[in-house]
């Protein structure tokens, strides 16, 4: 199979106009009226020129993507990595023709199927069977193709018994399984996948990843966005790191992950976005601080009503591989966290063994005592281990030795 270029992007840029609200210092009726009139004139002017309306007192141009160029060859499995707001989703939207770039151009050879969301277009009133056809058509499958794969899709989704039930009666797990089952049977030369595998239970996730892996092995070109560096490291052969809308690195996946990790050495506190507010229990804010012999995770959790929960901290090493998990209540029910309705402050001390130098990620979960996830914070928090030979009485384990990242304490035992 010749390695010909299937996607060539050059100088790609995408800008949005965003509005700001002015300072509300002199809020007399007269000021408000004057400003309102000014905004009306401005909006009228943009309406005349056919430009979008932007609320706010002043506007600013914001470049979500800037001067992005890359080439992707047939059969490449490329991970797109970057922090929230780095432009990953915008890039995928441009490549899947949902939105038009402001500058630059892309050449694509072959059929592109994009999976930016699981269950796009599912209609709650329609049955599972009807939704398979609807969703398949929306994703670009022909009716003949769906009919051919129907049994396979149903088997994959594990919802046979409820095929003729409206999906509004489905549990969220069934809904997601059915939706992903359709998407997993999508066949196209180029597949663009956004953070959609982060749904469902662990077993189903494994099944999904296996499916993506099969596609990659079958020579399909895959573009993949995920916060889970472990998944990206395992699936992809190449990585593109985006930072503030620009390509910060493009190369082999190992280097790309290292670049990304180096980029985010300073631990940034997590603050929940607007989408978290809909969940009954969710993290409002979280941070990780180093402490004697480990780390302390401090979080603020919003709860709709009083209840007891499990809080997990999953720790991943500098290349994104899982290292281990600490939990309040997950192992010992006596440690369950009692939440009151409203804002709760939680702190968890995690004791760590000596670790190799580098940047470690902390993912947080809130879980119900019987295993249902309520909220997750992933790829947001990290801490850095810096040990010098002086501080640890000798040599320090480094990740590039290739022996892992935990330095187990050992001492001489009596030789018999």
């Amino acid at each position: 199979m010749s390695k010909r270029t299937v996607i060539r992007a050059s100088g790609l840029g995408k800008s949005y106009v965003i509005g700001h609200k002015g300072a509300d210092r002199h809020d007399t009726l007269r000021d408000t009226l004057a400003r309102g009139a000014g905004n009306l004139v401005r909006m009228g002017r943009s309406a005349m020129r056919g430009r979008p309306l932007v609320a706010g007192d002043t506007t600013e141009e914001f470049w979500a993507l800037r001067d992005v160029s890359f080439e992707i060859a047939q059969g490449d499995v490329v991970g797109v990595i970057g922090r929230n707001g780095a432009g990953k989703s915008t890039l995928l939207k441009v490549l899947s023709r949902i939105t038009e770039p402001t500058a630059g151009r892309v050449e694509i050879r072959g059929r592109v199927a994009s999976l930016l969301e699981v269950g796009t277009g599912f209609h709650p009133e329609l049955s599972g069977r009807e939704n398979i056809f609807l969703n398949g058509a929306i994703l670009g499958m022909s009716q003949a193709e769906i009919r051919r794969k129907f049994d396979e899709i149903v088997a994959f989704s594990e919802v046979e018994r409820f095929l003729d039930t409206p999906v509004k009666r489905y549990s969220s797990g069934m809904y997601v399984r059915l939706a992903f089952a359709v998407a997993a049977h999508l066949e196209s030369e180029i597949l663009v996948i956004d953070e959609v595998l982060a749904v469902g239970d662990a077993e189903f996730q494994k099944k999904c990843l296996g499916k993506v892996n099969d596609l990659a092995n079958a020579g399909r070109t895959v573009l993949f966005v995920s916060h889970n560096l472990g998944t990206i490291g395992a699936l992809c052969t190449r990585g593109i790191v985006l930072q503030n809308g620009r390509v910060a690195h493009d190369g082999a996946i190992g280097e790309a992950l290292a670049t990304y990790v180096a980029q985010s050495t300073r631990s940034v506190d997590y603050v929940a976005g607007a989408d978290a507010a809909g969940k009954p229990v969710h993290f409002a804010a979280a941070r990780v601080a180093e402490s004697e012999g480990g780390i302390v995770v401090r979080a603020e959790v919003m709860a709709g009503a009083a209840q007891s929960i499990i809080v997990n901290a999953r720790i991943r090493d500098p290349i994104g591989a899982p290292l281990g998990m600490a939990s309040l209540g997950g192992f010992d029910p006596g440690q369950l966290v009692q939440l009151a309705a409203g804002r709760n402050a939680i702190a968890m001390q995690v004791c760590l063994p000596p670790l190799a130098n580098g940047n470690y990620f902390v993912d947080l979960d809130i879980e119900e005592p019987y295993g249902h996830f309520l909220d997750r914070v992933e790829g947001q928090l990290n801490f850095e281990i810096v040990r010098t030979p002086e501080s640890s009485h000798g040599r320090v384990l480094l990740p590039d030795w290739g022996v892992g990242t935990i330095q187990f304490p050992a001492r001489a035992a009596a030789a018999s």
């Binding site: 770039p101 151009r105 329609l126 058509a137 929306i138």
Partner: protein, 279 residues
């Protein structure tokens, strides 16, 4: 589509007009069918009387018109056509057009979850939503034929022309629908304008009366409302040519419909690439 040995290169660029737009539209015909089917099958889900709503709405409106305009206000009918039949024959094309416009104008906003997540020619959405109105229309047509049988009105060869006037009605609805759908994405003001415009349209179109009562000198001006030609033509073909239908009305109406359609498609295509960012 997938099995071409050398897939053609797709170029995405700012402001680039799609070369294969109409071919692309054809390739997405299955999506069109299934979206239309979705709208139709969801329409009467979880309602008690189901499809009966499709019949009840025009039947009740006709009853009200007959009592208020026919009996109390004594609006004249035309020739020997019973007033309820005159109203019903006007109501059908009117409901076809008004339902298409009001559904279609909101269709992009109600399907925003699709538009922001998947690519397809956006034209599919408002046109597919029009099919719900066509299904309702077909059901009502049965009711209308039943009424004609009741009044002893048998259609003649004029009926053969009726499908042409239905198509004319669809085209008449499509132009304004595309304009309003495109504008509604960016200016939600149209959400408030549309119900008002539809209400207004019912009174300025010859639904509750025959356009024969419009004074001769105003006829041409009146025909600028494209609904006039559709309603007059539909009624004329159905009632065996016994109602007024002027050639000048037909020509003026067709010209206005073509103008709206041309402008609607132009506006829609000019703005559709930014829908995902705005909706």
């Amino acid at each position: 589509m997938t099995d071409s040995p050398e897939p053609s290169t797709l170029i995405i660029e700012a402001g680039r007009s799609e070369l294969h737009y109409w071919r692309d539209l054809w390739n997405y015909r299955e999506l069109f069918t299934i979206l239309a089917w979705r709208d139709v099958s969801v329409q009467y889900k979880q309602t008690f009387i189901g499809v009966a709503w499709a019949v009840l709405r025009p039947a009740l409106t006709m009853a009200i018109f007959t009592v208020i305009f026919g009996r109390i206000a004594k609006v004249p009918t035309e020739g020997n056509v019973p007033y309820p039949l005159l109203v019903m024959a006007g109501m059908l094309p009117w409901f076809l057009i008004s339902t298409i416009v009001s559904n279609g104008a909101n269709s992009l906003v109600t399907n925003s979850n699709l538009i922001s997540k998947v690519y397809f020619p956006r034209l599919i959405v408002p046109v597919a939503s029009a099919l719900v109105a066509v299904v309702d229309f077909a059901i009502n047509l049965v009711l209308l034929f039943a009424m004609m049988a009741w009044f002893g009105f048998l259609p003649d060869w004029h009926l053969l022309l009726m499908p042409a006037f239905v198509v004319m009605g669809l085209l008449a609805a499509l132009g304004p629908t595309l304009i309003m759908a495109a504008l509604n994405v960016n200016y939600r003001d149209f959400r408030f304008v549309i119900p008002f415009a539809v209400q207004f349209g019912l009174y300025v179109s010859p639904v509750g009366f025959s356009s024969a009562i419009v004074p001769e000198k105003w006829r041409l001006l009146y025909a600028l409302n494209p609904v006039v030609a559709v309603v007059d033509g539909f009624r004329w073909s159905l009632l065996g040519g016994r109602t007024h239908f002027g050639a000048d009305t037909f020509l003026t109406g067709s010209a206005v419909i073509a103008l709206f359609l041309w402008f609607g498609i132009k506006l829609f295509r000019g703005t559709e690439r930014s829908f995902a960012d705005l909706v």
